[in-house]
């Protein structure tokens, strides 16, 4: 195990010079790409495979394996699409990667493209990221001007174009097949898999889709080697993760730590503990679509396996912290309202179910809950989970089922007392005005 302070993606963030092309180059940037260009494409894939790097966008699929699924000797063009549609609630590490060091990410894009012999890469940038998108546009222009992109990447004769494509406000486009639909100029609705994008993705051509953080890890793997990377973190979840910490903590922010670091370390040593010294009530390990955990899970290691063993998912590594004064029912209502808003409408369980649950939660929060509402929520959760086309619906069920499992007594108090027990209880969700929607 490498020393605890190991940072990969954020290693040079303290140096403001790495923001620009020259500074990034001076700090050793684009040497990973140069190393890759000195190998065959298959060798690059082998290095990334043996590093054990897994996708940071939520699913944790091994990156090198994903690349190896792209068929060789295809007649069709091959595409790389970088997923910068960061919008899982609580997640903000992709944005900071691009704002701080856009070239590290672009270098990862170029290495991935070379590995699958693609000559066109797209960056799907979330529309609301107006400023990060402009940073990226400038970085792409600088990379062309300096011979890192274009007809002969670093003088190698390998040609690569990178196109910045901006989304227009739709959470579902972070789902890879919905993203492809959107990039092709359609509504962002998910598609059936198989065929998987590696075989039939963008324009029905072989396509690799990777998250920004995943790609930003690749340059260091090329310069420092697969073994170096694999020694960081845990055996099955190698490397680091940039944890986005928000909500009721003293120091919200992005913290890059080795995979497997316990929440207690992240929360207490890095994020400054729970805001105002209050007690931790609930937290999400990987954004709003991962089941909530509680203060009983402070020592869970933040890696794919340990979080799964605790009954949740590492997801995007977005830790949203709620304290003892925050109302779980209102928190879950707000999250489910998000999924209801962002449901693409394709599948009935998701489209109707998320809306229905958000209404039931609203009436419980407003003091109109009924005893039969809790079994109703259980049943609705079961009827949404795994019954829709993509994972958006499953994400909506996570806060519902996990909160009912860990905080059922809080729901019961709302129903029994005909009010939210947290209203007027100081700053936090509990003191917020009740939702204005009609309670039926």
């Amino acid at each position: 195990m490498a020393e605890p302070g190991t940072r990969i993606v954020t290693a040079t963030w303290d140096d403001p010079e790495v923001f620009g092309f020259d500074g990034y180059r001076a700090a050793g940037g684009y040497e990973g790409l140069r190393a890759a260009l000195g190998m065959s494409a298959a060798e690059v894939i082998d290095v990334v495979k043996s590093s054990g790097l897994r996708g940071r966008g939520g699913a944790g699929f091994p990156t090198g394996v994903k690349w190896s699924f792209v068929p060789q000797d295809t007649e069709k063009p091959t595409y790389v699409v970088a997923n910068f549609d960061e919008s899982e609630p609580g997640t903000f590490n992709n944005r900071e990667i691009v704002e701080r060091e856009p070239h590290r990410f672009l270098e990862g894009v170029a290495i991935a493209a070379y590995a699958v012999q693609s000559h066109t890469a797209f960056v799907y940038c979330r529309g609301e990221f107006l400023w990060p998108g402009r940073i990226l546009g400038d970085a792409i222009a600088d990379a062309y001007a300096n011979g890192v992109l274009g007809d002969s990447v670093l003088g190698s004769g390998y040609r690569l174009d990178v196109v910045l494509h901006r989304g227009a406000g739709a959470y579902i486009c972070g789902e890879e097949t919905a993203l492809l639909s959107s990039l092709e100029g359609y509504r962002g609705q998910p598609r059936l898999r198989p065929p998987f994008p590696a075989v039939e993705g963008l324009y029905a051509s072989p396509t690799v889709i990777n998250n920004v953080e995943t790609l930003a890890n690749v340059p260091s793997i090329m310069t420092r080697g697969a073994e170096w990377f694999a020694a960081i973190g845990t055996e099955k979840s190698p490397g680091t993760k940039i944890f986005s910490v928000s909500g009721k903590v003293e120091r919200p922010g992005n913290y890059e730590l080795p995979m497997g670091t316990p929440l207690r370390t992240l929360l207490e040593e890095h994020a400054g503990g729970v805001l105002g010294g209050k007690r931790l009530k609930a937290w999400t390990p990987g954004g709003s679509s991962t089941p909530m955990l509680t203060d009983e899970h402070l020592d869970v290691g933040l890696d794919f396996e340990s979080v799964a063993a605790a009954g949740s998912l590492l997801g995007t590594g977005a830790i949203i912290v709620m304290d003892e004064t925050d109302c779980i029912v209102e928190a879950v209502r707000r999250l489910v309202a998000f999924y209801a808003h962002e449901s693409c409408g394709k599948c009935t369980p998701c489209r109707e179910g998320t809306w229905w649950v958000s209404r039931v939660l609203a009436r419980i929060e407003q003091g109109y809950g009924r005893a039969e509402d809790l079994p109703l929520l259980d049943e609705l959760g079961r009827n949404i989970l795994f019954k829709a086309f993509c994972a958006l619906a499953d994400g909506a069920v996570s806060p519902i089922q996990s909160s009912l499992a860990h905080f059922r007594d809080e729901y019961e108090r709302h129903v029994a007392e005909h009010r939210c027990p947290f209203t007027g209880g100081g700053p936090g969700l509990g003191s917020e005005p009740v939702p204005s929607e009609v309670v039926a």
Binding site: P89, A168, S244, N254, S288, D326
Partner: protein, 194 residues
């Protein structure tokens, strides 16, 4: 009826479609919709029709796409769009009060989206991916971090007075139309940026 896209903008539209592989011009639909939005401050039926004309698809097909995405405004919209995140991380830091203050300062009544002076649209936003700065709002997609109800009142007041407040990071678009032009990818003429 005058065209939404002038001959100059039609040339820019061609430049936008040429970013995508030949035969895949439909991929340019979002930037083209941003382009017509940059002219009219929203997307009108005529704008939809002209995008369809450029791409060789029907107005209905364009509308089917445009209506899917919240950043394309098919309804009347103020000169500035104030987006207030009220998702969980921001709500935990008081975003509901920020939203209330923004609506009140813009004098937007319940059920309305645009202020009576047509200067401002207040839009309740989903997570903006800036939860370290909660509660966060955007004015024409430029971020304002850690806002309080008082701060949002000041920001709305300056917009109503015709000023564009300095964002927490980067450079503010002049208004929603200008932001749409940037989103169409036509911001190469802006020179040096911090």
């Amino acid at each position: 009826m005058t065209d939404v896209l002038s001959p100059e903008l039609r040339a820019e539209a061609q430049a936008i479609t040429s970013r995508y592989p030949s035969g895949r011009e439909r991929s340019a639909i979002l930037p083209l919709l941003y382009l017509v939005q940059s002219v009219e401050g929203r997307v009108t039926q005529e704008g939809l029709r002209e995008v369809g004309q450029i791409l060789g698809i029907t107005t209905a097909e364009v509308e089917a796409v445009a209506s899917f995405y919240t950043m394309l405004r098919l309804r009347p919209t103020g000169a500035h769009v104030v987006s207030v995140c009220t998702n969980l991380s921001c709500a935990l830091r008081g975003a509901n009060d920020v939203l209330g203050a923004a609506l009140e300062a813009a004098e937007i009544t319940e059920g309305e989206e645009v202020s009576p002076d047509e200067r401002i649209t207040v839009h309740e936003e989903e997570c903006l991916g800036a939860c370290d700065a909660a509660p966060v709002i955007q004015i024409d997609f430029a971020n304002h971090d850690r806002v309080t109800p008082d701060r949002v009142r000041e920001l709305v007041a300056s917009l109503r007075a015709g000023e564009v407040p300095e964002p927490s990071k980067g450079e503010a678009p002049e208004d929603f139309r200008d932001a749409s032009r940037i989103l169409a990818g036509l911001d190469g003429d802006r020179g040096e940026r911090a």
